[in-house]
């Protein structure tokens, strides 16, 4: 119970600006993570992965199974690292579980690539994209059924705690989101400078030429799907942390639509550009969050949820002026 008289947090304009900026960076970080997943798969396979939403949510579900249920997906034995019932994992253990969940998500990506994508190599890209749509539809019911109305807890050790930065309330989860996305972004950039990353770029550029050079295209595809699925899952896990809307859980209401919100990011940044995913994520989230904060007095005029439209307006504008995005590779056709 409250023992002291309540005092309003009279958030000043400066503090509001800081809070809004941090929120934009945090949401942008989530967008970056999921957009990187899209981009890696597209870069290697030229396939736009419409299953990203279900796969990302499945990855977050793995996390809840590991840490909240104390088990493993589809396996009958217990997770020896899981915290005791009613207890929360420490920070180190939590991130260990994040890594395990990402590994499981990567395996899911590998399986899907092997079963549904690899047999389609050489077939029209449109057919492959439709297959990913089918995968999305097939996986989503499992996610929804497992999460149910009440959601599944992620067991985030810092919960909804926040810092007070000179009157601005800064949730710890937001800073975690930024750090995680920064590490992921740098890792992906670094990856493309490795031998395997160069092979992936070669495959993206010309599959047949890459095969002629001895590059194992199937292996590149598999790695791209594993990485892409793991990154999307990481985005979904981060987005589950409070005070992002699911409030510390995987949500039936929120998570399935998360990947859809990232589409403007990859269109803005360019479908095949890692830098584009990073810049695009940050720009789109900034536009969305600032519109939500500073146009809120016109909510009734603009319509509730108007800020979610802002990314699509940016996307539309970008398509009109630069169809391949800020950093996308223009398609050159011989005429």
């Amino acid at each position: 119970m409250i023992t002291a008289v309540l005092q309003f947090a009279q958030v000043g304009a400066g503090a509001t600006l800081i809070q809004t900026l941090v929120k934009a960076l945090a949401l942008g970080s989530v967008y970056v993570l999921i957009a990187l997943g899209f981009v890696i798969i597209f870069k290697a396979t030229q396939v736009l992965n419409f299953a990203a939403g279900a796969l990302s949510m499945a990855g977050a579900m793995f996390m809840t199974i590991l840490i909240s249920d104390g088990g493993f997906p589809l396996l009958p034995f217990a997770n020896p690292l899981a915290p005791a019932e009613g207890e929360t994992a420490g920070i180190v253990l939590f991130f260990v579980h994040v890594l395990i969940a990402l590994a499981l998500a990567a395996i899911l990506g590998l399986v899907i690539e092997r079963v549904a994508i690899r047999p389609m190599v050489g077939q029209p890209l449109f057919a492959m994209a439709v297959i990913t749509l089918g995968i999305e539809i097939a996986i989503r019911p499992f996610n929804l059924d497992a999460t149910a109305l009440e959601g599944r807890q992620l067991g985030v050790p810092w919960g909804a705690n926040s810092w007070d930065w000179g009157g601005a309330v800064v949730p710890k989860s937001y800073l975690v989101a930024v750090i995680v996305a920064a590490i992921a972004g740098v890792s992906v950039l670094f990856f493309f400078r490795t031998k395997l990353g160069v092979a992936m770029r070669a495959v993206a550029f010309d599959q047949e030429a890459a095969m002629a050079q001895g590059i194992n295209v199937g292996r590149v595809f598999a790695i791209a799907w594993a990485m892409g699925t793991a990154l999307a899952a990481l985005g979904a896990i981060v987005y589950g942390m409070a005070p992002f809307p699911p409030g510390g859980s995987v949500s039936q209401e929120i998570h399935p639509l998360l990947a859809l919100r990232v589409l403007p990011v990859i269109v803005l940044g360019g479908l095949d550009s890692v830098a584009g995913a990073i810049y695009g994520g940050l720009i789109i989230a900034t536009a969305e969050v600032f519109a939500g904060q500073y146009l809120s007095q016109w909510n009734s005029t603009l319509g509730s949820g108007y800020s979610t439209i802002v990314p699509y307006l940016v996307m539309l504008f970008m398509l009109l002026v630069k169809p391949y995005g800020l950093f996308g590779t223009p398609e050159i056709r011989r005429v």
Partner: protein
């Protein structure tokens, strides 16, 4: 010409006689009554089963019972329907409500029913989709042996609104799992038998109670209202606004209908900057979690409450904002939560649920299913006493101003006068939220010493504020959409 007149008069007399005989048949149950469900032999069965029905059955009239649909008179079985959301957004709660009502009938039947009549529930899943809900209604309302006598639970305002007119036409009495202020309005749906209070009155009580809480903390009440679009959200928001007006509380932010879609950042921004000391919400649990969590995270400190469905202990107690909910949120409800001591109806409920469903976890919404069972049983007993188990008579009994239901302390007792202002139940419950007490246990582990807890502790039972008590309603707080 004169002979023709005599002949016509004779024919008229004969036809009147035939009609009169037909009426007798209907009321006596000695004939088919116009249905496939055959009500023959009602009297015999009544005699045979009178001894089985237990001491609480009252005297067996032994008379014949008129029936039409949803009643197997030969075997003395009454079928009731549940049009429930078992796979949709409210599935986890509704499944528990349905389970409680099923257990209610199991107990009723195990005790011999009433004068030998037992009740079998027929459960159909709507998934909270209006089109499927309407199809289910048509299945349950069919005028054949496959129909039901009445619908003892119909999940959701949209589906209830969609079937209300047809139910009145079909004489199918419907108990809605919804508290929209539309239902007590006889012109809206004469066959809809609402239970407990309405979202509108609940909001009046909640706002008045919150204002007292805020003042007791030395603050000036300043209200923010946040609601989703549609009957549910608008009903609660209108009630809150009416209470604020009556009590002279400034509404510093009116977000009626402002929450739609999954982006609530504008609503949160407006709320945080509004200077509200108290917030009334009419939302889904997910929306509340987002708006409450982000507002608190951004520094808003105010007392919160909201329409009952806004808060779900399964969502909010395990969330990362459990401590904040415990500190700032008060749950509004219509009835007693699990294991509330000193309530006779709760003791019956606990004993039955523990015995019949040990595998389920404890739940506050068992009370809802149990209350639906009490309503339906009271109606069925009255109908049997009148010797008329027809659908039309069930509706007629529900419209009788002398008809009332005793909920044995689980909720405010209720009657259904024709006048809207008299029919509206004015009381609701207020719970304290205490996440430290949240302890969901299987019913099989229940003991009086360790009853488990949903973390919701009643602090006001059947609370009626001055606004709700004195407000003169000339109809529902909202208009039906569509």
């Amino acid at each position: 010409m004169r002979r023709l007149k005599v002949l016509l008069a004779l024919l008229l007399a004969l036809s009147m006689l035939a009609a009169a005989c037909g009426g007798d048949d209907d009321s006596s149950g000695s004939d088919d009554g116009g249905s496939d469900s055959s009500d023959d032999g009602g009297g015999d069965d009544g005699d045979d089963d009178g001894g089985d029905s237990g001491g609480d059955d009252g005297g067996d009239t032994g008379g014949e019972i008129a029936t039409d649909y949803g009643v197997d008179a030969e075997n003395k079985i009454i079928y009731v329907g549940l049009n429930a959301d078992l796979t949709g957004p409210f599935a986890s709660l509704v499944a528990e409500i349905v389970a409680a009502q099923e257990v209610y009938w199991e107990v009723f039947n195990a005790n011999g029913g009433y004068q030998g009549w037992t009740v079998e529930p027929v459960v159909l899943d709507s998934g909270y989709q209006t089109d499927i809900g309407i199809q289910n209604y048509e299945t349950l309302a069919q005028e054949s042996s496959d129909g039901v006598l009445m619908i003892t639970e119909n999940t959701g305002s949209p589906i209830t609104a969609a079937i209300a007119e047809q139910a009145a036409e079909d004489n199918v009495l419907v108990i809605p799992l919804s508290w929209a202020s539309l239902w007590p309005d006889p012109t809206f749906g004469s066959a809809i038998l609402e239970k407990q209070t309405t979202y509108c009155v609940e909001a009046m009580n909640g706002v008045e109670w919150l204002a007292g809480k805020v003042e007791s903390e030395g603050l000036d009440p300043a209200l923010a209202i946040i609601g989703r679009p549609g009957e549910y959200g608008e009903d609660g928001s209108v009630g809150a606004a009416l209470a604020a007006e009556e009590l002279g509380i400034p509404v510093v932010y009116d977000g009626t209908g402002a929450v739609a879609g999954d982006d609530r950042s504008a609503v949160i921004a407006e709320l945080v900057s509004s200077g509200a000391t108290m917030v009334w919400v009419t939302l889904t649990p997910g929306e509340l979690l987002d708006i409450f969590g982000n507002s608190v995270s951004q520094g808003l400190q105010a007392y919160w409450s909201g329409s009952s469905p806004s808060f779900n202990y399964l969502v909010h107690m395990p969330s990362d904002f459990a401590a904040e909910f415990s500190e700032y949120y008060f749950q509004s409800q219509y009835q007693a939560p699990w294991a509330t001591p000193g309530i006779a109806g709760m003791e019956d409920l606990i004993a039955a649920m523990v015995e019949a469903r040990p595998e389920l976890n404890i739940s506050d919404v068992f009370t809802t299913g149990w209350i639906e069972g009490i309503m339906a049983e009271t109606l069925i007993r009255a109908a049997i006493d009148q010797g008329d188990l027809t659908r039309a008579n069930m509706v007629a009994i529900s419209q009788d101003s002398s008809f009332s239901v005793d909920f044995k302390g689980l909720s405010a007792n209720q009657s259904w006068p024709a006048d809207y202002n008299e029919a509206v139940v004015r009381s609701s419950w207020i719970y304290d939220v205490d996440a430290t007490k949240f302890n969901l246990i299987p019913l099989g582990d229940y003991t009086p010493e360790n009853p488990g807890s949903t973390g919701l502790i009643p602090i006001e039972q059947d609370y009626t504020g001055s606004v709700a008590e004195n407000y003169v309603f000339d109809g529902p707080c909202i208009e039906a959409s569509g």
